[in-house]
Amino acid sequence: GCTKEVEPKVETEKINVNVASLKGPTGMGMVRLLEDKPNFGENIEVNYSIESAPDLLKSKLLNKEIDIAALPTNLASIMYNKTEGSYQLGAVNTLGVLYVVTSRDDIKSINDLNDKEIGVSSKGSVPDFIFNYILNKNNIENININYIVEHGNLAKQLISGDRDLALLPQPFVTMVTMKNKNLKIAMDIQEEFRNIEGQDRHIPMGCIVIRKEFAQNHPQVVEQFLKEYENSIKWTSENVVEASKLIEKFEILPSAKMAELAIPKSNLVYIDSKDSKDMLDKFYELLMNFNPKSIGGKIPDESFYY
């Protein structure tokens, strides 16, 4: 026989934890972690990275380059549904970040949108659904929605003055208001949402996704990470000026000044996965009614929540 002694697994084997977040609001809450690099114990090394595109994060989760990532909530559901539950939701980290931006003076309330032309980025995206949901509930029908590909192109039109009314997410809202002084926030979509659904309702837009295989192998790492992450978010919300400096340092936003303006309007939160189920179920249902594909076909079940 050619049996060969298999070396017993050495205790001291290194565990690499790869954590990624996105540029923009979902990443802002993580700066304290990025800065401190808290110790997760011996032989555990946590690598942080900042990515630009949600799609890319998705790919990197799929190819196992990343274990823990901050993602849009609908993407979390898609990943869960499409991989027979290989990915789980760790926590909700961002509520809504949508605003109506304008250079006009005649837009004060949602009803003023009647008979107007508004720019919205990416038809069929989550912001589009939420916006349409709100318009429906307010019976606003005479509105001309102009779809523009990508937030950036819409932002360019606002900055150059070629467009005077648009729906945008953070940090583009802050960016355009900084680059063109005529622009201001006319409406907070989150507020409009609460006006319809009740004051305790929120739009959960961003969350933490964990690779299930990783979570099963290293539960204590995940536990500790979530705790540290919660602290980081809290710190960011409370120490805007310092956090902004870090945000610039880690290139999550191009400038600290922008971050200072963006943080308060980005609704950073930490909601435990178990506590978020109710909120997410309702949110997913809303999306499902628009397009089931946008959450991967069905509302994720119990085991989606870590």
């Binding site: 799609d55 499409k82 991989t83 069929g124 594909k293």
Partner: protein
């Protein structure tokens, strides 16, 4: 070997690759990463039945052909002028080289902020195809047998006839190979531009949807649609060329 045997052999070779794909996909057993050919075909059937299917294909084709046709005609005409006039060549050459070396993705990003999303794929196709056809025409003229041109000059054959009977047939293979490259490339670039610009009816928008919704089967199925259409084009184009070239070689 009879024609039917050759066909059979070709089919066997193609089957070889499909079976290889099936084996790998089954072995991997992860539909999000690599769907089996069978599931891809299933997804293809689903796609074909959706109501926007033919419209999407039609509009994508329209964009590709518009871009291609403009490049084809301008490429040949301007290419000929550049070949016979040093100044025009020197003026255009840096522009063509620059266009050639500009990453498509930059062009798409820039143009998306300039133009309507339906037009961007056409412009991109043009910018991809024109330099190739232009270069091939210039190359073709260069490679024309000078001794035949000399012969024609001695016999005082008119410029028009020299162009028609010596230069054009000489550059024809270059134009054909340029057009083939170009058709394949333009087609792919147009789809890429669509993915990024997502005009209403377009194959690209469907690819984009498949991507963001992680529907790998339909990503594969739409990709297959592109490949199949590519094959049909190439076949069609070669067929036309063969008809036109009868008598020439």
């Amino acid at each position: 070997m009879r024609a039917s045997t050759i066909k059979l052999k070709k089919i066997i070779y193609i089957l070889f690759w499909i079976i290889l794909w099936q084996i790998i996909a089954v072995g991997l057993n992860r539909e999000v990463y690599l769907p089996t050919p069978i599931n891809t075909i299933k997804a293809l059937f689903n796609i074909v039945q959706t109501k926007g299917f033919f419209m999407s294909i039609f509009y994508t084709l329209l964009r590709v052909f518009t871009g291609f046709l403009i490049s084809f005609i301008l490429g040949i005409i301007i290419g000929l002028f550049s070949s016979f006039n040093r100044h025009i060549y020197d003026l255009l050459n840096p522009l063509v080289i620059s266009i050639k070396s500009t990453p498509v993705i930059s062009i798409i990003i820039i143009f998306l902020s300039w133009f309507k999303s339906g037009i961007v794929p056409i412009i991109i196709t043009f910018l991809m195809c024109f330099p190739i056809i232009w270069t091939n025409v210039v190359e073709g003229v260069k490679s024309t047998d000078k001794s035949l041109v000399d012969m024609a000059k001695v016999y005082k054959v008119s410029k028009y006839n020299i162009l028609k009977h010596i230069y054009l047939p000489s550059i024809l293979p270059y134009i054909v190979s340029g057009s083939l490259t170009t058709l394949g490339l333009g087609w792919k670039v147009a789809v890429a531009a669509e993915v990024l610009s997502q005009p209403n009816y377009s194959i690209g928008a469907h690819l984009y949807d498949s991507k963001i919704y992680l529907e790998t089967e339909s990503l594969f199925a739409w990709t297959l649609v592109v490949i199949i259409l590519s094959f049909i084009f190439e076949y069609f184009f070669k067929y036309i060329i063969k008809l036109k070239m009868k008598g020439r070689i």
